[in-house]
């Protein structure tokens, strides 16, 4: 049907416009939904950020480098001053009562009472205990365990901290679990910072209102309303700026944290995170480190009053520091204690007792990199294992072989030795002053006990023991003589007459350092008196190629040319290599690998790297013994004889070395327990004021007198393959007791010991000798 066009159109249904209020409501709803969604998204983002931040490594912990531990035993000769310094460095506190707590010590005249700290090093986990050390002169007389009242044969002192591998933030922190912190210390922190911590949800409106009221009343900002969670959020995630936006972010973060983490987790992170003071350029963070820094103890042993001091520091660590102002610190501590009492967390008596105690910080030594050249050497050893970022963040513990007492003695001996050079040392520009280097190593194990690579690390970090190459001069001669032992004996005579040799077509005329009248000298005398002409003669006869072979087998990395001047050390060596090569003489012909790093442990005490003494046989024990015997002659009769006058009263073997124009002065000397190398010279090859005997030898003697705790005074045991025979000095054959005028005891390798008696004096008539002697006497008279 067709629609009737005339039909009145039905009125269009008029769209009803929403009222303004409705529109506004809708808008509000929309905005609210959007805002809620955004907020939810933001909170979700924050929660993932928090999760990400806290599920991984929370802090960068610097790795620590430790010295070796120290063994003490009855009968040991010790240097009391040096041992006392060591104990102080280890944090032992001097008290005037019988030590009650770990780390306390009482020094009496001939007895020291100390309560040992716990010792936690690889392979050893010893609980601290009280002990009594008694002395007799410079010796430890006895060691008594005061807990068991039983004497003990030896004990170990903890290693010293040498260095921390800091990252750019230079923070020192010792992580602890909440279970290790005494309840009263946690309560003190809560009383000082946020007493409703366990009641709020990250922000505390009550606190904010209270802070607002206090601040309005005083017309000044006296209180902040931040909760512990907010403080943590601020420290962890936000930049320290005072803006409204940051405050809002802080609140959001705090609330999200409360949803993400348990209350105990938050307080534990907070107690490890908070900034609690400054040790020089290093910031002290967390209760664990602060407890050590202010009271020299593990946080588990903090008393109520000490815990209150640390809690009081949080507001302004450097203002309330007991090191800055003890009085202000005490007032702040008392405020915290009173707050604890008001909250009902401690009784009136506990408060009164804690308030009556004086604040007694333990004292500290500013952080200083100890044994810097050694630590650099250790770093270079570690660089192949760990990148620098790992060392400054993973909190590794690196245990080394360094003996801090020997190191300090070595540093002091070098300083004194260079001062003795008088005008040569005084008043010169730092870079033109004479330099020196000192290495102390245990020849059997290769343990490096001390390393001083230069006179002043602050002026020059160039390690002259490991990075320099210097001519060894006569200090190289022992390796020439060792080569000669294959065919000759210490009694073999060599020419002491001047000769011309040709090196690369040019004439070379070696000379003796001082005139020696004899035309021939024995091998022993040639080495003892460092006679150049006889040494070159020996090297030529032994074979220069073979001398090079010997040197290479002893670990020298130098490039050797088999020319006659090689015998006099006319090439360059790395001093550390020279010291190690000498070790083989002191270690029965076994060359030790120099050892600086013993163990690397991760934060949880798991072993990451372990290095042991390793040796490589480079010559026979018999040859090593004969070399030591000849080098002992160098100290008794030769260029090292000045040692006796310098107070060295125990047996020593060693060799001096002075290079052309007095550019280098060396002395390498050893006993069965220690080998020490001393080098003195200029970086720019200027002449020194004297020879090695004048310049290097006194430094060696000076040091050895300070480290007697490492020396037994014993000597080497004659190994198989060596025989001792009485010989005629003139012929080198077996002596005829009634005929040979000059005889001495000499050592030989079994295979080339003389078998025939002296033919030179076989027909000598003793009566004729007596008459001749009388005639000479009358003539001289």
């Amino acid at each position: 049907m067709k629609k009737n066009k005339t039909q009145k159109p039905r009125p269009k249904k008029r769209k009803k416009r929403p009222s303004r209020t409705r529109r506004t409501l809708k808008l509000i709803c929309l905005v609210t939904v959007l805002l809620t969604a955004s907020l939810a998204g933001y909170l979700f983002y924050l929660s993932t950020e928090i999760d990400k931040r806290f599920s991984g490594r929370r802090w960068s912990i610097p790795s620590k480098v430790f010295s070796d531990t120290t063994i003490l035993y009855p009968g040991q000769e010790i240097h009391k001053v040096s041992l006392e310094k060591k104990l102080r460095n280890l944090g032992y506190r001097n008290v005037n009562y019988k030590p009650r707590e770990k780390g306390e010590i009482r020094f009496l005249k001939n007895t020291w009472e100390l309560f040992l700290n716990d010792l936690q090093v690889p392979h050893t986990n010893r609980k601290g205990f009280p002990l009594l050390l008694t002395f007799k002169g410079n010796h430890i007389h006895s060691i008594l365990n005061l807990q068991t009242q039983k004497p003990i044969p030896l004990f170990e002192l903890e290693p010293e901290l040498l260095m921390l591998f800091f990252g750019p933030e230079r923070e020192q922190r010792r992580l602890i679990s909440i279970k290790e912190i005494p309840g009263h210390t946690i309560q003190a922190v809560l009383a000082a910072e946020d007493n409703r911590f366990y009641e709020h949800f990250g922000m505390d409106p009550l606190s904010i209102l209270r802070a607002l009221y206090v601040n309005l009343r005083h017309g000044d900002i006296r209180q902040g309303g931040s909760t512990i969670t907010q403080q943590l959020a601020k420290n962890y995630f936000l930049v320290p700026e005072r803006t409204f936006t940051r405050k809002i972010k802080e609140v959001f973060l705090a609330v999200t944290m409360e949803f993400t983490l348990a209350k105990d987790e938050i307080i534990e992170i907070y107690l490890n995170e908070i900034y609690l003071g400054q040790k020089g350029s290093i910031s002290i963070n967390g209760i664990g480190e602060a407890s050590r820094f202010y009271f020299g103890k593990h946080p588990g042993r903090l008393t109520l009053d000490e815990g209150a001091v640390l809690a009081g520091l949080i507001r302004a660590p450097n203002l309330y520091s007991p090191y800055a102002d003890k009085e202000r610190c005490t007032l702040r501590r008392n405020t915290v204690l009173k707050a604890m009492n008001k909250l009902g967390w401690i009784s009136q008596e506990q408060m009164a007792k804690a308030i009556s105690k004086p604040v007694r910080p333990s004292g500290y030594e500013s952080y200083r990199k100890q044994a810097p050249y050694f630590v650099d050497y250790v770093s270079s050893q570690l660089s192949s294992l760990y990148p620098a970022e790992a060392l400054s963040s993973l909190g590794l513990s690196i245990y080394t072989t360094l003996d801090t007492e020997v190191q300090r003695a070595a540093e002091a001996a070098l300083v004194r030795g260079l001062k003795r050079l008088g005008p040569f040392d005084a008043g010169q520009e730092p870079n033109t002053k004479p330099q020196g280097a000192l290495l102390v190593i245990q020849p059997k194990t290769g343990y490096i006990l001390a390393m001083v690579g230069g006179r002043e690390y602050g002026e020059s970090q160039f390690n002259r023991l490991t990075q320099a190459r210097r001519q060894p001069g006569s200090a190289f001669k022992p390796f020439v003589f060792l080569t000669g032992l294959d065919h000759f004996t210490p009694a073999t005579r060599f020419s002491n007459e001047a000769k011309t040799y040709r090196i690369e077509g040019k004439p070379w005329n070696p000379k003796n350092y001082s005139p020696i009248p004899d035309k021939e000298v024995t091998m022993r005398t040639a080495l003892a008196k460092s006679i150049n002409l006889a040494t070159v003669d020996l090297a030529i006869k032994a074979g220069l190629d073979r001398v090079v072979e010997t040197a290479l087998s002893f670990g020298f990395s130098s490039r050797f040319t088999p020319s006659p001047s090689l015998a006099l050390g006319s090439f360059e060596v790395i001093p550390l290599e020279l010291a190690c090569a000498y070790c083989a003489f002191a270690a029965d012909g076994s060359l030790p690998q120099p050892l600086s790093v013993k163990d690397v442990m991760d934060e949880k005490g798991k072993s990451m790297e372990r290095r042991y003494m390793t040796v490589r046989k480079v010559t026979t024990p018999a040859k090593a013994f004969i070399m030591t015997s000849m080098l002992q002659s160098a100290v008794l009769e030769g260029t090292g004889r000045g040692l006796k006058a310098l107070g060295i009263d125990f047996p020593v073997a060693g060799k001096t070395g002075t290079t052309n124009d007095l550019k280098d002065a060396w002395f390498v000397g050893y006993t069965p327990e220690l080998l020490t190398l001393v080098w003195v010279g200029f970086d720019h090859a200027k002449p020194l004021p004297g020879s090695a005997s004048d310049v290097a030898l006194p430094i060696w003697a000076d040091l050895m007198k300070e480290v007697k705790q490492h020396l037994s005074g014993g000597w080497f045991v004659m190994p198989p393959g060596v025989v001792g025979k009485e010989i005629c000095i003139e012929s080198g054959q077996l002596a005829l007791p009634s005929k040979c005028p000059q005889r001495r005891r000499e050592f030989f390798l079994e295979e080339n010991a003389p078998k025939e008696y002296c033919t030179l004096h076989a027909d000598y008539d003793p009566m004729e000798r007596l008459i001749k002697g009388v005639k000479n006497l009358i003539r001289n008279f």
């Binding site: 050893t124 986990n125 044969p153 003494m613 037994s712 014993g714 004659m718 190994p719 025989v723 005891r745």
Partner: protein, 128 residues
């Protein structure tokens, strides 16, 4: 752990110097004088290391023996046990090096003869 209950306390005077080798009159192997305090302390460590080897703890034993060697470098027992520890760790080369040193210091010591022979056999067997 280097804090051992005392078996024999060393409180005597310091070690008398060994005779100067250049003045030795005997051609037979030198006999060492009675051990001094350092050596007594070292012997305690050697014994401790021996127990650690029995407990199959070669790493701890080696560390202890390194200490003992420093205090008493001529005590062959230290090298014997170092060789044992390295054998436990399966390093025959190191074991051989230390066995050689031990054999040198312990020559003529009847009580060590069998042990040294056994050790030599163990090393040669392990190196095959």
């Amino acid at each position: 752990m280097l804090c051992i209950p005392l078996a024999r306390c060393a409180t005597g005077p310091s070690l008398a110097p060994l005779p100067d080798p250049a003045l030795s009159k005997e051609e037979k192997p030198e006999v060492e004088p009675a051990p001094g305090p350092g050596r007594l302390a070292s012997l305690q460590l050697t014994e401790h290391a021996r127990l650690l080897i029995e407990e199959k703890k070669p790493d701890e034993a080696i560390r202890t023996l390194e200490r003992a060697v420093n205090l008493y470098p001529t005590n062959g027992g230290n090298y014997y046990y170092l060789a044992e520890a390295w054998l436990l760790k399966g390093n025959v080369r190191e074991a051989g090096e230390f066995h050689g040193i031990a054999a040198m210091y312990l020559r003529g010591r009847g009580e060590w003869k069998v042990r040294l022979t056994n050790q030599r056999e163990k090393i040669s067997k392990a190196s095959r």
